[in-house]
Point group: C2
Chain length 358, copies 2
């Protein structure tokens, strides 16, 4: 089923995807400005379902790699990610039939739109994370054991590369990360292309629609003076795990990632209690009174307690009133193989997964 | 004219190319062991002249990138550089007609031999440096303004990439260097392919033959109890600029290069005088009594005063008796454009070229 997205749906998607970003992936706002420009220029956006793809259809999987904080300073055009898709098509010797996001979380949720407008391709209503994750091996495609190569990478000054082979997803991550860092910690990429069959088998379906609906929930709740946090929980099986005030944020940029720890003091129902959050680009573990109550791969979302909008790891600051909500991970990541890729230990934490959805 | 090289000629080439390495490019000894193995396995090596190439012939330009000191620890097989040529041929969609060295100086002088045996290709008697230089933009092809891309890069664990475009030679250097560092500071590469016409116009001819003849001079002088240093000077317009004892070597590994300064006290005719040498992988400036007497692009060679064999920047050590010889640069590097690429200022030194061959 093909659906043409209107301007309001894309605005809603940006808000919803920032919530699914679980603190990382970068605020989609600047990318939204780009896509608004494409809408004004007359482009329309067709959203198709994985089932609409032929088994042998070629799907381009796109994202911008790099440090979200750089994305806020070195602005991207829409042509870069389209160029990455073109390079991949040239390398493969065949055109693509559709484009999809590697992560429907944060700014990368809008990259398929930027590419689709240039290349006149439909966008698949699916991604490979169902949220944001920091590394290339943290995808449903990697959990499925699909081929990690090739990957095309573009810097708009004309540095272009194809990583034609990598023995593992982690090596693909390392090789592409080193090039990304060299060109300034931001690069447009077209990841390993997928067949329609692979997207149907291993893609996480419906995530563009989910983002749109979460954004719509926030918008309507605010218009109707209802609590957006409660409405979001109802919309996506969320549970409030804490509410309070940010009292400290420790950040360090190491190995190309933003890592650190945020501390909260409780307010209202949570008065007298404390919470803490580990992060590597995204929130990875939430502690209440020093006990882990939620971990990756489940979605730990920090929401502005009043507006319901997401708060990112790079912008969270002293004094903000926030509510922590956990939403369930896509099932592909809670299997033993999935947890090898994206459980707490994959983030270097000596901790088993905590499932707040027993 | 095609010439089949015998085992002795390849032994001589290794000695001569280490002298032309001007302190850098790594001791060819380990690569020589590899090629000896190929000879024992029955491979033969055909040396052809640039004039033997059709104008539209495809020539693979090969080298190992990285830190020579790593090459002494992490041993290379012969298949890696051949694999880089294969990846490039696949990317271009056509086979190669011949292979050549990017630098006939140090260990890279033997890489075309390793590849040629695997691929059954002739070796062109030419290179793009006439010596060793540390960076990709320091070639006659770069001075000629030829296209810097594509470049294929191989790590034997299965990390393979093609840099399909770079706006400048310096960006090609940076992009390929970052991947090289990530895979462990050593990688086999097939540089931008050249046509026969380009090799005839911009290659530095006769450098394999020159290496063989310099190695032969060293071998025969020693057999005949003549001074090899004097014989080398006669063979390649060399001039002795100092002779003495190494009294200090300061080395620092920065930005993937070996940089530093070596100091010598004079002996015999040079007693009471001092000399110093700047280096970035290769010897770049020679000072006598604190006055620069020779600079890049001219070939500053540190030779063992007795054996005539080269002494490398990574192995030079206190107490060695050495003689400094300068040999003239290929003409392509002493033009104003050439000096932009490889003059002292290209090495970050605030110094004009010093030409010891007035």
């Amino acid at each position: 089923m093909t659906r043409t997205l209107g301007a309001q749906e894309i605005e809603d998607l940006a808000v919803g995807a920032w919530i699914l970003g679980t603190g990382g992936g970068g605020n989609p706002y600047l990318n939204l400005l780009n896509v608004r420009g494409q809408i004004e220029a007359g482009h329309s956006f067709e959203l198709i379902q994985p089932e609409d793809l032929d088994d042998d259809a070629a799907v381009a999987v796109v994202s911008t790699m790099g440090a979200p904080v750089v994305m806020q300073e070195r602005l991207q055009g829409t042509a870069d990610v389209a160029r990455a898709v073109e390079i991949m098509a040239d390398y493969l010797g065949r055109p693509f039939d559709a484009v999809m996001a590697v992560e429907m979380g944060g700014s990368n949720s809008l990259q398929p739109f930027a590419a689709a407008a240039h290349l006149d391709l439909p966008i698949v209503d699916a991604d490979a994370m169902g949220r944001a994750f920091p590394e290339a091996q943290m995808t449903s495609f990697a959990v499925g054991g699909l081929q990690p190569w090739p990957l095309a990478l573009v810097d708009p000054r004309g540095i272009e590369a194809v990583i034609t082979h990598a023995p593992t997803w982690k090596w693909m991550e390392r090789a592409s990360r080193s090039l990304t860092i060299e060109v300034g910690s931001i690069a447009a990429t077209c990841k390993a292309p997928r067949t329609g069959r692979e997207v149907k088998d291993w893609g996480i379906p419906n995530t563009a629609t989910l983002s749109i609906s979460l954004g719509e929930v926030v918008r309507r709740s605010r218009a109707e003076h209802r609590d957006p946090v409660t409405a979001l929980c109802e919309a996506n099986q969320g549970r409030v795990i804490f509410s309070g005030k940010l009292v400290d944020v420790e950040r360090r940029a190491t190995d190309g990632f933003l890592r650190g720890y945020a501390q909260l003091d409780g307010l209202d129902d949570w008065a007298g209690r404390t919470a803490g959050l580990d992060f590597q680009n995204e929130w990875s573990v939430a502690y209440v009174d020093n006990e882990a109550v939620a971990t990756v791969p489940h979605l730990i979302c920090m929401l502005d307690s009043v507006s319901g909008e997401a708060v990112g790891t790079e912008t969270a600051r002293y004094g903000q009133r926030v509510t922590l909500v956990v939403m369930p991970s896509p099932g592909v990541f809670t299997t033993p193989v999935g947890l090898d890729h994206v459980g707490p230990r994959a983030f270097g934490l000596d901790l088993d997964v905590v499932d707040p959805f027993p």
